[in-house]
């Protein structure tokens, strides 16, 4: 990651809802349908549907839906922190829009999220979930120190085939070790 890459998180506002809706109707349909809990995942959503799903998500306790911004003020993706089930084991989600990938925004945003989890909360493990067809997503999670915890067999169907969902987790001590090794590098 270039050392100059910086991102910030902001709360989700109305204009970004439209951008998320545009993405769900475009190249990020499958990724966003999962994040928006939309079934069927192949179907486009209306702006109203997207707004309603985001509002529903916003009602969860100990959860945050974040927009990711570059230092050039571009809206580059979305992130989510969800500790609704258990504050000690939050679940993270990150999606960078395709044209902003491979520029370091994902890594910067993920590190910021992890830093918030382990430095600002009592989390002792952080979880993530990536479908097995997303080799890029899996490699990205592993580059952050996440380890594969197992799979959810037949998590869904895509392109006429069943796919598995891969559970990943990162313990606090592993994160701290990873962090220290980055400092030393």
């Amino acid at each position: 990651m270039p050392p100059s890459v910086r991102v910030t998180f902001r709360a989700l506002e109305g204009s970004q809802v439209e951008e998320i809706w545009r993405r769900q109707n475009g190249e990020c349909r499958h990724d966003l349908s999962g994040a928006l809990d939309h079934d069927p995942p192949w179907a486009p959503m209306s702006l109203e549907q997207v707004r309603s799903k985001l509002e529903e998500r916003g009602k969860k306790e100990r959860a945050a839906l974040l927009t990711v911004w570059s230092s050039e003020e571009s809206f580059v993706g979305v992130g989510a922190y969800d500790a609704d089930w258990d504050p000690a084991c939050p679940h993270l989600l990150l999606l960078i829009w395709p044209e902003y990938r491979r520029r370091g925004y994902g890594t910067a945003a993920a590190r910021l999220l992890l830093e918030s989890c382990f430095r600002e909360t009592l989390a002792h493990v952080v979880g993530a979930y990536v479908p097995d067809f997303s080799r890029e997503g899996l490699a990205f999670a592993e580059s952050l120190g996440f380890q594969r915890a197992g799979v959810e067999r037949r998590a869904g169907m895509k392109d006429g085939r069943f796919f598995d969902g891969v559970f990943l987790d990162l313990l606090r001590r592993e994160y701290e070790g990873h962090r220290e090794s980055r400092k030393g590098a």
Binding site: D86, A88, H124
Partner: protein
């Protein structure tokens, strides 16, 4: 298949009289399955309200487990999601009924219903690695261990893995 009746058990809808027993099971750390975050202060009324809320979802089933002698032994539930594709199963059995094949048959009846009558592709079950009895029972019923989420639960003051 003929309803949800086996040799040892019958699965039936819950009745008002069942909730006192269900509350007792939820208030015992040994029988409230892996969900040990809840305070141990369940009442019959609270159980009834929770079940009524969950049963508003047409894809959730909650059954009382009754022995062939008509004795209430526990409860078993399933929740489909995505509908007609996958379901998650949960079971709580009173300790006095452990080791008699009751839980295994109740689980088998629900699995047959879900796979054969609902046509599901996959049924999931979560427990903690501390609950070795449940892990063994699940494996006997044909479940395969597919994931272990590290540090996802605690028991007896120690961290445990959820699998």
């Amino acid at each position: 298949m003929d309803n949800l009746t086996g040799k040892l058990v019958r699965l039936r809808p819950c009745r008002d009289a069942d909730f006192e027993y269900f509350a007792t099971l939820k208030n015992d750390l040994r029988t409230q399955a892996w969900n040990q975050r809840m305070p141990l202060c369940y009442t019959a009324a609270k159980m009834r309200d929770r079940f009524a809320e969950r049963l508003k979802d047409p894809h959730t089933g909650i059954y009382a487990i009754e022995t062939s002698e008509g004795q209430l032994a526990g409860l078993i539930e399933h929740h489909e999601g995505p509908v007609r594709f996958a379901a998650t199963l949960g079971i709580i059995l009173g300790m006095e009924h452990w080791g008699k094949g009751i839980g295994r048959e109740a689980q088998e009846l629900v699995l047959r219903f879900l796979f054969e009558e609902r046509g599901l592709q996959v049924v999931r079950l979560w427990t903690t690695s501390a609950n070795e009895r449940m892990v063994r029972a699940a494996e006997k019923a044909g479940f395969r261990l597919s994931a272990r989420l590290r540090g996802a639960a605690s028991s007896g003051g120690s961290g445990w893995t959820r699998s």
